[in-house]
Symmetry: C2
Subunit: 567 residues, 2 copies
Amino acid sequence: MNSQKGLRVVIIGGVACGPKVASRLKRLIPDAEVTVIDRSEYVSYGACGIPYFLEGVFDSIDALIETPAKVKRTPEFFEKAKGFKVLTKTEAKKIDPESKTVLVQDLESGKEQEISYDKLVIATGASPLKPPIPGIDKQNVCFVRDLNDASRIKAIIDKEKPKHAVIVGGGYIGIEMAEALKSAGLDVTIIEMLDQIFPQFLDKELSLLIEKYMKTRGVNIYTKEKVLEIKGNEKAQFVKTEKQEIPAEIVVVAVGVRPNDRLARDAGIACNPKGGILINNYCQTSDPDIYAGGDCVVNQYINPITGQPVYIPLGSTANKHGRVIANHIAGIITPYPGVCGTSICKIFDMAVGRAGLTESLANSLGMDVVSTIWSGPDKPHYMNGKPLVIKILASKRYRRILGVQVVGFGDVARRVDVAATAIFFKATLDQMAYFDLAYAPPFSPPIDPIITASHVLLNKMNGLAQGLNPLEAKKRMDENPDLILLDVRTPEEFSQMRLDDERVVHIPLGALRNRLSELPKDKEILAFCKVSMRGYEAQRILNAAGYDKVWFIEGGLIGWPFKIWTP
Amino acid sequence: MNSQKGLRVVIIGGVACGPKVASRLKRLIPDAEVTVIDRSEYVSYGACGIPYFLEGVFDSIDALIETPAKVKRTPEFFEKAKGFKVLTKTEAKKIDPESKTVLVQDLESGKEQEISYDKLVIATGASPLKPPIPGIDKQNVCFVRDLNDASRIKAIIDKEKPKHAVIVGGGYIGIEMAEALKSAGLDVTIIEMLDQIFPQFLDKELSLLIEKYMKTRGVNIYTKEKVLEIKGNEKAQFVKTEKQEIPAEIVVVAVGVRPNDRLARDAGIACNPKGGILINNYCQTSDPDIYAGGDCVVNQYINPITGQPVYIPLGSTANKHGRVIANHIAGIITPYPGVCGTSICKIFDMAVGRAGLTESLANSLGMDVVSTIWSGPDKPHYMNGKPLVIKILASKRYRRILGVQVVGFGDVARRVDVAATAIFFKATLDQMAYFDLAYAPPFSPPIDPIITASHVLLNKMNGLAQGLNPLEAKKRMDENPDLILLDVRTPEEFSQMRLDDERVVHIPLGALRNRLSELPKDKEILAFCKVSMRGYEAQRILNAAGYDKVWFIEGGLIGWPFKIWTP
């Protein structure tokens, strides 16, 4: 397409964004001179796969550095198959935008040289945060960043056979590592300083559901608890928190990452005060000949506009940055629209995902938010549908969807992706209510869960449905000893599980119209069922009969993050 | 919300749309008098679940008439739990829009009566087409319409233990029934008159992939073959086609359905000449007090506008119609935006889905279409990603996505739903290229397949990628004996499967730059690999070296619907 003979492009960082820029650029401008620099021995590896390697999903770490055709992604591979040069074990020390050079050092020989560029790409990634905990430098205290970390953790597990692991931090990586180490046979405890796991990722009522599930899988979780010290001799032996000492022959610290923006800052390139290189829609930095992408930059929210740059480092975004950068260098204008906060995480047999804003983030931005929680199966019951819990939030005034969170054992990714696509297009709830999504019994109920959730929120906005989310319901239950908890499930369902509360009145929905006399009109009534379709029906029946202090508990027992009695 | 005391709403048809209207209406207007009429004994059952009942996914047909809480959806259930009346075994004989009455007949007593309405809803569904094949009235020749049909087929299988089944018709229901009967242990043959299975649903290159797979699962398929006669005594014994006689102790006829619009037509309500009641966005017919929804109506394509009503009967659409109708009667204005041709079907372990137009439909409408086929795993290879094949088409001029088809063993529904949502919003390829979809290794590769497919089509539109879809490639192979088939996979891959063609030249991608001398510049070269990422890279390498008659085969060997040699 282009012939820009001799165009020199230097790319600092060889994991996701960097190799993507290089590969695409060589397809766009075959005679460009493209050089990728990385301080590690490995480039273009699947860093996100590390927890699954440790879990034993695959045996050899080589799988993470091979192509699907089992060719190792070595410098030779890139030279031969892709046509660009890779300098491994080489560190970029300094960028000089004035002379357009990068000072690099060969980490084996110590030799330094200057490399000239016409266009420079900074794709230096991120590094794990290292909190100032006494004992954090002990042996067997691990971070999860690169393949060396992965090998190190694997070696500890295989050789030292630790029995107890403590994970410091309850975000993605912490949770993924908890699953990995639990699956590898260890006793695992997560310590999270804040009052919930997945603190930035999810609203609390959903994170509580995940906590509840993880505990059934044998993982210990302590939130609102701070790690004070890692105790032991050379090796970690105990993790001491404000409340307890927990044995730990291996400690994984995963309290977040920070963008590697030092090189850019030192070169005078504009960065976010809180960290992260600032880029425009073409991934250009404040120096138009210097691009940046991947985990070292901050992004814009595509929509709704938060007005603030957000730091959400993900391999998916890094690859898209790479394409935008290569295109722009080659003269193809493909503006990057920004992220919409989409992410997903597997937790044993459960998945949890999100697109858009959480309610707590939207509230903190002063938005007029209305939300609901829906639960139900992801397929017809006769096809063994698995439960999903969906939280959906919208702007009250503009009816636009602000965010969707999905937790459950069914196809979570599908609903998150529909939400992400909808948010991309500034969808309103009214639009999502009629999306023509794929229906057949092996895949979904006739009305897809994401659509039903929209319907519920519309009903709520129209004043038809009066729902309380589980936290609101719990608060009301705690505050009002005199309310009625109206369980409208069948006797069979009632015998299998129920709320263990003496305020529970059990009247199956079909009998409700005939048994109204059992319910006083002056008390608050919280109706519910398994998922709360019938809870909502009960609310409508009671409204029609003149009851006006009636709510249903959104998400029903499936979405109830607190204790449920079973025989 | 509303109080329209005594509002009389009559609904003809009790399966999907009808009960949805009734249930929602009673929640919106608790004191409305709502009556549902159905000629069958059963109402509100899961008709789409019939093939899975016959396959043995669940044991009792009752599952299809029960709620998830195992309450049978009888007239008593609806009266008590939902508050509306259901008249089963009651047939609507005539609508009189003038006097606003429906003449109904009790099918047991034969007694007729007139029922008055303020608002009428026609939700009469569809009936299977009965082609004029001699012998079609024999015993053991079955249609798949309602629970009686399901019970009948089940009884034949259980009691008569037929060994051979012939399915007449290769659309959804035919294919679903083929899976069901094969899984139930029968020898199954599909006869399709047209030159491909899924004739309206899919483009041919994808339907061929499914045929190929179904044959590996032991289903016999004959396309372009017409059934002439069903032979036997009282019971079917053979199906005679133009070419052969096939033993068949059970015959399932599934050649399509037609909308039940007779009642509407007789009442002077506007219908599509080809069948189907015409409705506006509120599901009102030409008589504003008469609504219609579900399988008896034709819809509009949401986008792109085909200008023609389309007949795509689906339970998902029927339920949405029901909501729109109930809302409109209650004074809530929620226009139905139309369908975008989304559908999905499971075939053993494979799934196939579509959103938007097929290429053949778009071509027949005179649209300027450009398309591509992509194949690849739905997760990173180290997570055992399963293959998907995606066909994507766009308008050349406006770059808008016109349609997406997905076939494979991975998460097909997810990608179809993203496409359906994108098409809803008139997405361009350029937008889909940067959707922020959910990424983590257990769910997807860093760049989701639907996004990669968009990238490929963009590359093709930009003149960068020169792809031939499998049918185009096959045609060229048939016409030009002198071309070169350049297989750029690794030697290991080459030993495991390959095109059995003496024109194949095997040069692994990594060796290509050094072995250019083996390839003449004057011959046409078709490069390919397993999925055709490397095929595309080879094309670019050869272009850069001055070769200009080079194409890659889109979808590679994974997407190749013809014979592939394996040891």
